[in-house]
């Protein structure tokens, strides 16, 4: 779950990290009102789940209320890499002496938490890693022990920050680690972490991704679920509890199992087609789940053909075939369907499907043949 910058800052503030006062605004009027309450100068910042906001004109300094009106009008509705700006964060402007970078994420290879700190902030960390890797101080934290104050101090020393930034940075990093672990985050990132001319260390931007699997112990995370960026199709699939990712092609995909669904998407590409989605309906393939999946795909206007790819393991072929037929009765499907059914009792399942085959319901025995047929039908 990706948080907007302002949600990330509010999340950090709960753990005692210093952030600037600000307000969220959905309209120009609200932006002006927020700026009046905060007092100018302010920053007007687009809230989107993507990077590169500054370059796209989504972050502006406003010295006066007139500036706020102008920038908020331009930024609200702006398209930043396909994300339409629906809200802006109005924040008291900060004076910046220096910009740093700080983050924690899970290092899957080391199976430890990885902290990164750099005195080269305000630019993408990938760029720093490529051009000047020595400018990044790394620390691997054992998840069982956590991050001690002494470890944290040694880490900040290794990053060669100026002496006046030392204490403030140590304090923020300890709190950042707490927010990261206590909050079950996949990623917490402050870029930039700034030093003000007065010598204060301060959070100027926040990027937070939370682990969707941890929602059961964080009741308040429902609020973030509502602000995820999803297109109409993804919203519909999400409400049905389906594992769905929208793509931009014309062949709708339904498969059981994440690996098989990924593989199906790959094979459609391999035979020259374009998949409309990734959709994993899980182990079984009963009529309810199948009907829900067909409904989501049927509502996608780009879909011209549907490829159902099922491997029966414990769920037998007969059950799968009956589930598909039952689901087709419930949904008025516009596009032709190509089925590939394999695995346990595949022959029995195919025998059930056979009398129902038509130019709207086709069957192939291999994944490649089924993909080829579906791609031809979509053209």
């Amino acid at each position: 779950m990706d948080l907007f910058e302002y949600q990330g800052k509010q999340f950090f503030a709960e753990y005692g990290m210093p952030t600037s006062p600000g307000k969220i605004a959905f309209t120009v009027d609200e932006a002006v009102q927020a700026a009046e309450e905060l007092g100018t100068p302010v920053m007007v910042k687009a809230q989107v789940h993507t990077g590169g906001r500054g370059k796209a004109g989504g972050v502006k300094f406003a010295a006066t209320i007139e500036d706020v009106t102008e920038h908020a009008s331009n930024i609200l509705g702006l398209d930043i890499k396909g994300h339409i700006v629906g809200r802006v964060w109005i924040e008291k402007a900060s004076d910046i002496a220096e910009e740093y970078y700080a983050s924690f994420t899970l290092d899957r290879s080391e199976k430890k938490h990885l902290g990164m700190l750099s005195k080269e902030g305000g630019v993408e960390i990938e760029t720093v890693a490529e051009e000047n890797p020595d400018a990044i101080a790394k620390i691997w934290v054992d998840p069982v022990d956590g991050l001690s104050e002494n470890q944290c101090k040694a880490w900040v020393e290794a990053a060669n920050l100026p002496a006046e930034a030392f204490d403030g940075t140590v304090d923020i990093l300890l709190k950042l680690y707490e927010a990261y672990t206590d909050g079950d985050a996949d990623l917490v990132e402050i870029n930039p972490l700034i030093l003000t001319p007065e010598g204060k260390v301060h959070v100027l931007d926040a990027k937070v991704t939370l682990d969707g699997n941890s929602v059961f112990r964080h009741e308040n995370y429902e609020q973030y679920d509502e602000t995820q960026t999803r297109d109409e199709r993804e919203t519909a699939a999400h409400s049905k509890g389906l594992q769905y990712v929208g793509l931009d092609g014309s062949v709708g995909v339904i498969a059981n199992g994440a690996g098989l669904a990924m593989s199906t998407v790959d094979v459609i590409n391999q035979v020259g087609g374009k998949p409309a989605n990734f959709l994993d309906i899980g182990g079984g393939a009963n009529a309810d789940v199948m009907a829900g999946a067909l409904e989501v795909i049927n509502n996608d206007p780009n879909v011209k053909a549907i490829f159902i790819n099922i491997f029966g393991g414990i769920t037998r072929g007969e059950e799968v075939a009956n589930g598909i037929l039952e689901a087709m009765k419930r949904v008025d499907i516009e596009s032709p369907i190509v089925i590939r059914l394999d695995g346990t009792n595949a022959d029995e399942g195919r025998a059930i499907l056979k009398p129902n085959l038509s130019d709207k319901l086709l069957m192939e025995t291999t994944m490649l043949d089924a993909a080829t047929t579906a791609v031809q039908l979509a053209q």
């Binding site: 199976k111 098989l260 990924m262 790959d266 994944m367």
Partner: protein, 294 residues
């Protein structure tokens, strides 16, 4: 031979009294697995189809001599269940449960390494392990695998594993052991753990490795294969065309910051001498070719 589990392995099911646990526990038992006990803190003294229930893993181990456990506990309880199993004395833990928070996984992975270095965890979010004809722990349909050998399989994906087992069976090729290591960010057992065990297993003559996008486990496996594996390996990597930044069903299947792409993994494996198929069927055919030359 087989790796990790065989016909002598006695297994405790943590969560045997639940709907998933009782369903798969029964199927595993029908397959021939020695399902010797279940655990439930409040149902000690009862039984499921004659399989006795104990209050905890330690008591079940003491009473039955079990050396393995299989976890069918909801995600919130998995961290506790894994540590209970290790403390209770089992040496091989299969955690089938999906949806375990990554931080929990990071904690129990490191806790096991430190306090119980001789305990092996498989999963979480995995289909389990099957040594065909001998022992099946987890949710794999046993009859789709042909016993014997000469192929050992290790995979991050459930259905693609079943696909591989099934295609090999149709080509009349047997499997020594098939290990589903699961699709989560911190799997207890790695590709390398399985490659090492297959390399040491005399009956395994060739290895099939099924990976997917996300992380760098396949690249690390490729390095290991280059230096330590003498047996031929075929592979398939799912997610070649997956968009960056999206979790593709599995919590660990995500390309982030340009890292974890299928093409990088395929290149690394090919550079290590692995024969890489473009789809599961092709990988199966490559394995059949390899087996024909053994």
């Amino acid at each position: 031979m087989s790796i990790f589990v065989d016909e002598t392995t006695k297994v405790i099911y943590q969560g045997l009294t639940g709907s998933q646990g009782s369903y798969y526990g029964r199927l595993n038992r029908e397959y021939g697995t020695q399902v010797v006990a279940g655990t439930h803190p409040k149902k000690a003294g009862t039984d499921i189809d004659g399989v006795p229930i104990y209050a905890n893993v330690a008591e079940a181990v003491e009473a039955t001599g079990a050396t393995a456990s299989c976890i069918f506990i909801p995600a919130a309880g998995v961290r506790g269940a894994v540590m209970e199993a290790a403390a209770g004395g089992v040496k091989f833990i299969v955690a089938v449960t999906e949806g375990v928070p990554a931080h929990d996984e990071a904690i129990f992975y490191n806790q096991l390494k430190r306090d119980y270095p001789d305990v092996q965890l498989l999963g979480p979010n995995c289909p389990g392990i099957i040594s065909p004809g001998k022992c099946n722990i987890g949710i794999t349909a046993g009859h789709i695998a042909k016993p014997g050998g000469p192929v050992g399989i290790v995979s991050r994906s459930g259905t693609l594993t079943y696909q591989a087992l099934y295609e090999l069976k149709q080509k009349d090729i047997g499997v020594t052991t098939c290990v589903g290591i699961g699709g989560d960010p911190v799997p207890g057992t790695s590709f390398i753990d399985c490659l090492e065990a297959f390399e040491a297993d005399q009956e395994t003559k060739a290895i099939m490795m099924i990976g997917e996008i996300g992380g760098s486990a396949e690249e690390e496996a490729a390095e290991y294969i280059k230096d330590h594996v003498t047996k031929p390996v075929s592979s398939y990597i799912a997610g070649v065309t997956a968009p960056p930044g999206k979790k593709m069903g599995h919590a660990g299947a995500i390309v982030s910051g340009g890292k974890g792409t299928a093409s990088a993994k395929m290149e690394a494996l090919e550079a290590a001498g692995v024969r890489v198929g473009n789809n599961p069927t092709e990988a199966g055919e490559l394995m059949a070719e390899i087996v024909a030359t053994l």
